[in-house]
Amino acid sequence: MNPAMNSAFNAGMAPVATPWFFYVLAGLAVASGVAVITRRNAVHAALALIVTLLSVAGLYLMLYAPFVAGVQIIVYAGGIMVLFLFVIMLVNIERSSKERRFNRIWPVGLVAACALMALFVSAIVKGKALFPDRGMPLPESSNTQQIATLLYGEAGRMGQYTFAFEIASLLLLVAILGAVIMTKKKI
């Protein structure tokens, strides 16, 4: 171990946000994302999607957003993907793997993907003016608390996004009720 690294460890610096982690996680996310749409077998595609979601969770951790990473693992990788696999296992894989994979709306998808790409590129090009250079330096220890303060407010004061948050939860409640009513003929 070289002396520079040694001193970094002794100073208590946690070397988490190294570029190598980013490259590995981003490469994994892209590679498994490509696998999701190219695998013929639906279960393989679902497994690749789980890898994508987990590596994106790792990227959130690198951005000092541990709460978002944890929720990503619980909700997407743990909950939704289990339901996905549940449904996929009931589908006849033999037949579905012989069907045409990309149907006639692929030009629309291509246009949409290009538009999204253009948006991202413009955000990167113009980003210096729009966003601060390094973003808000969030101290890792209070990220969850900061989210709570923004959503619910503190000390009797309403949070910045309380109204929007409540509206979103109401919308989700309506969606849940709609799903129950649509699937159950007799309640």
Partner: protein, 430 residues
Amino acid sequence: MPNFIMSYLGSKVTPGEAGNQFWALIYVLIIFAGVAVAVLAMNWIERKALAHFQIRLGPMRVGPHGLLQPIADAVKLMLKEDIIPAEADQFVFWIAPLIGLLAAFTVYTVIPFGPSQAVSDMNIGILFMLGVSSLGVLGIVVSGWASNSHYPLIGALRSSAQMVSYEVAMGLAVVSAILMTSLNATGTGTLSMIGIVQAQQQQGVWFIFKFFPLGFLAFVIFAIAMIAETNRAPFDMAEAESELTAGYHTEYSGLRWSLFMLAEYAAMIAVSSIAVTLWLGGWMRPFPNLLHAPAWDFIFSLFPGLTFLGLAAITFVGVARMPSQSFFKIQRIGLAVFAAVLGFIALLLLVIAVAGRSADTSVAARFREGIDYVYWFVLKVAVFMYLFIWYRATWPRYRFDQLMKIGWKVMLPISLGVLIVTAIVGVIFS
């Protein structure tokens, strides 16, 4: 390099927080070895206890009182032919046990065996534990599908449905415990595993007794849901041997099968330690605030040594009661050696307890403290592990519709109610 290794020894935080990879790795290895030994021991205890529940003897032949049976089993499983069915999905079949094992062992990074006796203290600790342990079901689901066989597929479908429905009640019970952590001066709760135990220490009460019966109800819901989460009896629908031969691992054999077993037991220990951390005061000994005189500290620090002394005494009784035929000579010597080893460990622990009785910063005092924390934590987890066996011996398996009915129509409303009432009571009394 030695300086880098030694610099951690004086610190009062986890190696992860201190950024010390070396000690983090050492802790990981200790935990891995400890869990592996615990799984072996659990294997023996489960067979013995189940046998005694049913008035049988259980394993008696391999070693004295069958003590070497788990090792013999492990050797057998490793030497057994590893069969992959021809029609199975090779890659997924191969990777499924590893998914379960990875998920079960990853959560051990945040389990707090003591205020600094954990690999790392994440500020999303409990969220991380719930999330990663819920990934374990992917291994079961995927293995059932990859086997390309009817029984495993049914087992996997049952397992995923059961897991998804019990996770809801479990999560709500956990949230009501996390709400209780915010009832302090600053009004800020925490998701960190170490922070949750420290919150119980500050409030001077284990959360199972807080706002009685609210904390107790949440604990009971979690205790039921965690059995369903780990697919243990009476909720072992995924591997119901009377209906599905062996459920999701029907087609597995040899080492791969043993990986499933290892993952199951590791997950059982992990969820038990979540329950211990959230409701039973984690590493704290009984009455840490009430009986906090140095004399009480000393008395409680004798417990680890006395426990091993008791085990050694039981083993010596076993040696004395061994039949006196020459056939049992080797078994008797082996058991006597085992008893002597237990007695030696007891002596060592007692010496450490006596040497480190003054609360200074000497190495002995630090060791005594660490042993105390780990002992009380492991003791509480061990009670849960015994309960798992007890449940299995006591209750018949649920039917699947009963299981779903309990999950959605009983546990979910109760846990929601407990959560709401906890929030109201917390606001009124804080």
